[in-house]
């Protein structure tokens, strides 16, 4: 089983590396949207540093939306999913691996890139660690919702994905931005971190089983 999991993981990594557009487009999108905010709102460093946590979180949320269609679509179209469902392997571990690889390719680069907001949006540099921690804890949950939306809207119109993911991600958005703002106001942000972690642990099995159920619908 662990051997198979390793192979699936490797296969996912290879297939993501081959389709460079799937992991490049969120990065490009993130940088462009980050650049739009100062142009539209104000170029005053004081304003921007106040808005920086929220802007970063919104941009991260929107750019991860770009990749949710990729989680299952390719495997659905070329028949890989059929084989996985007919094999006697645990589909649960398959789903978890797919979500993990998707997170590595779509969220991790953006999290690393988002450290540039201390220059671009003048985020106070002591808040950076908190922002990165909140992103590390929050983006896996968004990936879970993305996987569910991708599984439900497999081969369907792409507006469905955002319509499902965005309302579900509201708590993460609130806690992610609140953790940074409360830290910058001199409070302890650990409450928000623990809540995000709790939401992730609570939702992980639930969403994975929901994903399996949603994927099976396309094979009935």
């Amino acid at each position: 089983m662990t051997n198979l999991a390793k192979r699936i993981f490797y296969k996912e990594l290879v297939s993501y590396r081959k389709r460079s557009s799937t992991y490049l487009s969120p990065i490009v999108f993130f940088l462009i949207t980050i650049a739009l905010y100062p142009l539209a709102l104000s170029n005053d460093p004081a304003d921007l540093s106040f808005l920086a946590p929220g802007i970063t979180w919104i941009c991260v949320l929107l750019s991860t939306l770009l990749s949710i269609q990729n989680i299952f679509n390719e495997d659905f179209e070329d028949g890989t999913l059929d084989i996985f469902f007919s094999l006697r392997v645990s589909t649960l571990s398959l789903i978890i691996l797919k979500i993990l690889v998707n997170w590595i390719f779509s969220s991790l680069p953006i999290i690393i890139l988002s450290s540039t907001v201390i220059f671009l949006l003048f985020l106070p540099s002591e808040g950076l660690v908190i922002l990165l921690t909140s992103l590390f804890l929050g983006t896996p949950v968004i990936s879970l919702f993305g996987a569910l939306a991708g599984a439900l809207s497999l081969g369907k119109s792409s507006i469905l994905g955002p319509a499902i993911v965005l309302p579900l991600s509201l708590p993460i958005l609130i806690m992610g931005t609140s953790s940074v703002t409360s830290f910058l106001n001199g409070e302890n942000p650990s409450f928000y971190f623990l809540m995000m972690l709790a939401i992730f642990i609570f939702l992980l099995p639930l969403i994975c089983y929901a994903c399996i159920g949603a994927l099976r619908l396309h094979y009935e």
């Binding site: 319509a163 579900l168 509201l170 609130i174 609140s178 929901a210």
Partner: protein, 248 residues
């Protein structure tokens, strides 16, 4: 004990049969229509014309007889949809799918009515159409949820998989709505120290309360009525080629 359980089980099985439901709902709909009209008429006329004027808000408060029932109904519909989603997931009962499909647009409309009547009420009393208050925000999220369910349903061509997909989304939404509600509450306390409180429902006088209760009852009956009619239409749509429907 055993007999009541058996009759309950019987009722449940009958509920799953679309010919039975179609027949029974056809018989009951006129009565429900009559009662819903009666309750709604009495509640709203009593509330709007005969209940005393509020000493603080004046006559504006009378929109409460639309707003509170609509808000209450909008949440109750989601709860019933959650129950139906569980039934549909576990027992694959096709009537549960029909129920969710028919109730989602109704829920969306009543949530919309609650939002609109709330903002019409808010304009004269708070001086603004909209405020990012915790309750308003979570109602807005509920509205978006209903829309997402409706649009997910319409994206499937196969009815059976559409029912299952919508059940999954309804359940995930039901798990998440309390989290969203709670986090919106925290967010609100962080960003906006309690500026407006409108929880005076406990101090409402009985002359205002009775018409409100009647009006709430009327709203629930209207939901029941429109739900039954929508479900009948959906059954007719799905089973138009079945033998029982042709002979009906």
């Amino acid at each position: 004990m055993n007999r009541t359980f058996n009759s309950l089980k019987n009722f449940y099985h009958k509920l799953g049969s679309s010919p039975w439901f179609y027949r029974i709902s056809g018989i009951t709909i006129p009565y429900i229509a009559l009662f819903s009209f009666l309750f709604l008429f009495i509640g709203i006329v009593w509330g709007v014309f005969f209940s005393p004027t509020d000493f603080k808000q004046g006559d504006v408060y009378r929109i409460i007889y639309i707003h509170v029932p609509a808000a209450s109904v909008s949440q109750a519909i989601y709860y019933t949809m959650t129950v139906a989603a569980v039934v549909s997931m576990i027992w694959r009962m096709k009537m549960a799918g029909i129920f969710i499909k028919s109730m989602a647009p109704i829920g969306a409309s009543f949530t919309f009515l609650a939002l609109i009547s709330g903002s019409i009420w808010g304009q004269p009393t708070w001086g603004t159409w909209w405020i990012w208050d915790a309750r308003l925000t979570s109602t807005l999220v509920l509205f978006i949820f209903y829309i997402a369910i409706v649009s997910l349903y319409s994206s499937f061509s196969e009815k059976k998989s559409a029912d299952q997909a919508v059940s999954i989304l309804t359940l995930v939404g039901a798990v998440n709505l309390p989290i969203i509600k709670k986090s919106v509450d925290w967010w609100n306390t962080l960003h906006q120290p309690a500026s407006i409180k409108f929880t005076e429902s406990s101090s409402i006088s009985t002359e205002m309360l009775y018409p409100l209760i009647i009006s709430i009852f009327g709203f629930y009956l209207v939901v029941l009525l429109s739900g039954l009619m929508a479900m009948r239409a959906e059954i007719a749509k799905r089973e138009i080629n079945k033998e029982w429907f042709k002979n009906y």
